[in-house]
């Protein structure tokens, strides 16, 4: 399991995302994961071996390194990327659940031809109803994780600058020793870059939230007939059979009305308006 297979898993969710969601996913993979793997990991590669203290005392290096770098930037970013990407799987699970229900209904109504099942498999669901809520919750979790990691980063490494020199006096260092960090400027550049992209991702997520809410409001207040039809098709499938029965009853009652109106020609106008 590596970033490549992770990408394959997460990008499958892309089909059911909004446009902003797809942009967000591309930013995550290109500007964060790719940069992490291709560039940042080599900058931090020698972080421990290149951390040198001005002492011959064995163990002083290790202890001072541990004191100033409780968790490496690289690992923090890797965890952040994993945790931030996984809420998208909530949406994938919801979609899989909906497909499963639709398949079941099709089988029960006796229309489980391979063509129909294939259609269910490739169907793209509208982000309405329960899926809207799942999507919204996944975006909120994304934002929470991003902000939480930014805060943890700030707590552990206050300021975004990597210093060249740290002073350490933990045991077994004999006194206050100078310890030198390897590649501080390059690390500062990459830290600022990763934090900036993280900020951009937070903004994209906020924009997506606003977009989804505005779309939902538009659906509620404007164009109710069109949207309600779509909502009906995608949400009322369990009542499909009942609707078929209702249709039959309606047709039957219409037929009986027609036979009545044949005898009462004065109600012709009304009959036309009923259609």
């Amino acid at each position: 399991m590596n970033w490549g297979s992770f990408y394959a898993v997460i990008s499958g969710v892309n089909r059911h995302s909004t446009g902003i969601g797809r942009v967000w996913l591309s930013v995550i993979f290109i500007f964060r994961i790719l940069v992490l793997v291709v560039a940042a990991e080599s900058v931090w590669g020698d972080e421990k071996s290149g951390f040198v203290c001005n002492t011959q005392q064995p163990g002083c290096n290790s202890v001072c390194y541990d004191q100033f770098f409780p968790i490496s930037h690289i690992r923090l970013w890797a965890l952040q990327l994993i945790l931030v990407s996984t809420p998208a799987l909530l949406v994938a699970m919801h979609v899989a659940h909906r497909r499963h229900i639709d398949k079941k209904i099709l089988k029960r109504t006796g229309r489980s031809s391979p063509k129909e099942l294939e259609h269910i498999k490739n169907q793209k669901f509208q982000i309405t109803g329960a899926l809207w809520w799942t999507y919204m919750i996944s975006i909120i979790f994304r934002i929470l994780f991003e902000v939480a990691f930014l805060y943890i980063f700030y707590l552990i490494y206050p300021g975004f600058r990597m210093v060249r020199l740290v002073k350490c006096d933990s045991y077994p260092c004999p006194n206050t020793v100078d310890c030198f960090v390897s590649r501080p400027t390059e690390k500062t550049i990459f830290t600022v870059f990763m934090l900036a992209v993280s900020g951009v991702c937070v903004l994209l997520n906020l924009a997506e939230v606003v977009y989804l809410i505005s779309r939902a409001c538009k659906r509620c207040f404007g164009g109710p007939e069109e949207e309600s039809k779509v909502a009906w098709i995608s949400q009322r499938l369990p009542t499909y059979r009942q609707n078929e029965i209702n249709q039959l009853i309606a047709d039957h009652s219409l037929k009986s009305k027609l036979t009545l109106t044949k005898k009462c020609p004065t109600e012709k106008g009304e009959r036309c308006s009923a259609f």
């Binding site: 421990k48 163990g59 290790s62 965890l79 996984t86 045991y171």
Partner: protein
Amino acid sequence: MSWPALYAQLVGANRHSTSLGKVWLSVLFIFRVMVLVVAAESVWGDEQSDFTCNTLQPGCENVCYDQFFPVSHIRLWCLQLVFVSTPTLLVAMYVAYRNHGDKKRLLQGSGRAGSLSSKGQEDDLETLKRRRLPIAGALWWTYACSLVFRLLFEGGFMYALYVVYDGFQMPRLVQCDQWPCPNLVDCFISRPTEKTIFTVFMATASSICMVLNMAELAYLVAKAVTRSLCSQKERKTCGKSSRERTRNKTNHKSLVST
């Protein structure tokens, strides 16, 4: 064989899992295997080379490292993940065995019936291959056993880690007096805080997996109990209606006779 190959095997076996089983598989691969490969392995990469003891005595560092790290965390986690994933293959084996039996019966049946169109037979075999078996009967027992084994392995490995390393915290300094160390020497562990963070993370993920497995087991038991209650009800109503039918018959006969 590598992690992606194991993933491919397990995803195939996962078709016959419950939804909780599918969630468990995702948690396993994303929060445990992926974190292990992408992050944890680099943290433990220099565990021996950077294990420094306050002595120049040759061999002392090796001996002290071996005393305090009989088996590395990384190796323990790899073993744990392998052991925990394999009970799912029990289910896959059982499904393969069932499919094999059904395939044989299908071929025999079509042979006896005469010439069934080869296309029709192929379609039937394909459906057999692709179908998803309901978790009932012997498959239920196989699945439940696999869950129990998963729980045992998870618990066992977590306990082993706790016992070997005396808790989940990695100390900065250990004191060692094994031969050939000349006296009690201080030995310093590399990146202890980062290792503690990852140990706690992996232990948490392991506990979440255990909770998911227990929930899945409870769900299976509940499903089995409901199914047996429903089938009992059905048998009672069938029994009642058949008794009614026989009573009606006898009544009818007695009426006819009079």
